[in-house]
């Protein structure tokens, strides 16, 4: 496929954009990438492609836009079937979609509540994040990855969000590995994968970004 057929509208620190980049890398799909200036001014193409949410990531394939990262990862899996990201059986696919939905509804917001708040609110947010990770540990069970032996859909949905954990730990004064060792082990396993290691930003840089956001929100 010619490189210019696939274009990703991106923002470097966005874990949602990282999901798309990892999925494309897993499939060996060549694509162009355009960084959006989220604070300075979003491009015409972004606003036209995603008029409702006006957010990244947007994937344009042959000019047709796709929005919402989990939706895009689904699309990538269906359009470039090899290697498959979702499991083979309908039931296992439903389990994968369940966990992706759970992660989407809970994880990023819980983390946000840690760096955006202080005192009692922050303590409650930390408790919630740990509970979410414990549920995810339950979903992982004794498997290497959420889908079993192979890195797949749920791993792609979850792993980019872990780049923000260093920031949560710093501002929330806790340690994910101590609280959820199984989750931490899964994280390390995924980070050993080339598509993940080459895509994800350095957690130190994410911390600096979150520090800037805290100042912007007037939290110090």
């Amino acid at each position: 496929m010619a490189k210019e057929d696939v274009l990703l509208l991106d923002f470097w620190v966005s874990p949602f954009c990282s999901r798309v980049k990892i999925a494309l890398a897993e499939k060996g799909v060549a694509y162009q990438q355009r960084g959006e200036d989220i604070f300075g001014g979003k491009s015409e193409l972004l606003l036209k492609s995603n008029p409702i949410y006006q957010k990244v990531p947007v994937l344009l394939h042959d000019g047709k836009p796709m929005c919402e990262s989990t939706n895009i990862v689904h699309y990538i899996d269906e359009t470039w079937p090899s290697p498959p990201l979702l499991p083979a059986s309908a039931y296992d696919r439903a389990r994968a979609r369940f966990w992706a939905d759970f992660i989407d509804k809970k994880l990023f917001d819980a983390g946000g509540n840690i760096w955006k708040t202080k005192g009692e609110d922050q303590a409650a947010a930390k408790k919630e994040l740990i509970q979410i990770l414990k549920y995810l540990e339950g979903g992982l069970g004794d498997k290497d990855y959420f889908g079993g032996d192979s890195f797949g859909f749920v791993d792609i949905i979850a792993i980019p969000l872990t780049t923000w954990f260093f920031a949560y730990e710093k501002f929330g004064n806790f340690n994910v590995e101590e609280e959820c060792p199984k989750f931490a082990a899964w994280t390390k396993r995924c980070l050993g994968r080339e598509s993940v290691a080459k895509t994800l930003p350095d957690p130190q840089q994410v911390l600096e970004f979150v520090s800037m956001m805290r100042k912007m929100h007037g939290i110090e």
Binding site: A90, Y91, R97, F98
Partner: protein, 233 residues
């Protein structure tokens, strides 16, 4: 012999979605009505994370979350597909289904709980959200085209639950005048025989709304608004 069970509630739009899909596919199932204030041990066992209905049990294996269940049903039973085959069209359907669930439902629901200036503000916000759906329906009978698809099934609360409660409260968020296409869609939708058999009677819905787990203050507030609306007629 396939065993299909649905843990649901007869007045819940979420379990209704699953019933519509199973009916469209011609799947026989047992319906197990759950009491939200007294959840069964099976429900808690099958959905330990959210502890909610609907849960579909297929040959003993549980699936939770209505949108996940709908995709599962579409993959397992091929009659009357509810998702398009083409990946791009499928992505669009999933996008709109999520939009209806994540944006429309909360925005519409909010208008039940505000009065005066706050109501005007909430109504305007709901209108902004609905406008995109109104545009999406141009030239189509249903969101799925000529027949009901995923987005239509997910939007069931808009067609029936929201409009029923809106009428009882004397609100004017989604009307024939301000959203003619959506109104027409809703009328076609609730008159579909594959759907209307699963809709609870209007007076029953009003009588049990809001569910007590939402908080007694909301129940009381709703009762007072109902009374005020009835007196105004």
């Amino acid at each position: 012999m396939e065993e299909v069970k649905l843990f649901g509630h007869p007045a819940s739009p979420f379990s209704c979605r699953v019933e519509i899909a199973l009916k469209l596919k011609g799947v026989h199932y047992d319906f197990i009505a759950e009491d939200p204030s007294n959840k069964s041990p099976q429900l808690l066992q099958y959905n330990p994370v959210h502890k909610k209905i609907p849960v579909l049990l297929h040959n003993g294996k549980p699936i939770a979350e209505s949108l996940v269940i709908l995709e599962y049903i579409d993959e397992v039973w091929k009659t009357n597909p509810i998702l398009p085959q083409n990946p791009h069209e499928k992505a669009k359907a999933r996008f709109w289904a999520n939009y209806v669930e994540e944006k429309c439902l909360p925005a519409l629901f909010k208008t039940f709980w505000s009065v005066g200036e706050q109501y005007d503000k909430d109504k305007a916000e709901a209108g902004e959200v609905l406008k995109f759906l109104e545009d999406e329906l141009q030239g189509k009978k249903f969101f799925g085209g000529d027949s009901i698809g995923l987005v239509d099934i997910v939007a069931n609360f808009m067609a029936f639950w929201f409009r029923t409660i809106q009428e009882a409260l004397g609100l004017d968020v989604l009307t024939k005048d301000n959203f003619p296409k959506l109104w027409e869609w809703a009328e076609n939708y609730v008159n579909c025989s594959d759907i209307n058999q699963f809709l609870p009677p209007k007076d029953k819905l009003i009588a049990i709304f809001p569910p007590p787990y939402m908080g007694q203050h909301l129940v009381a507030f709703f009762q007072s608004r109902l009374a005020a609306a009835a007196a105004a007629k």
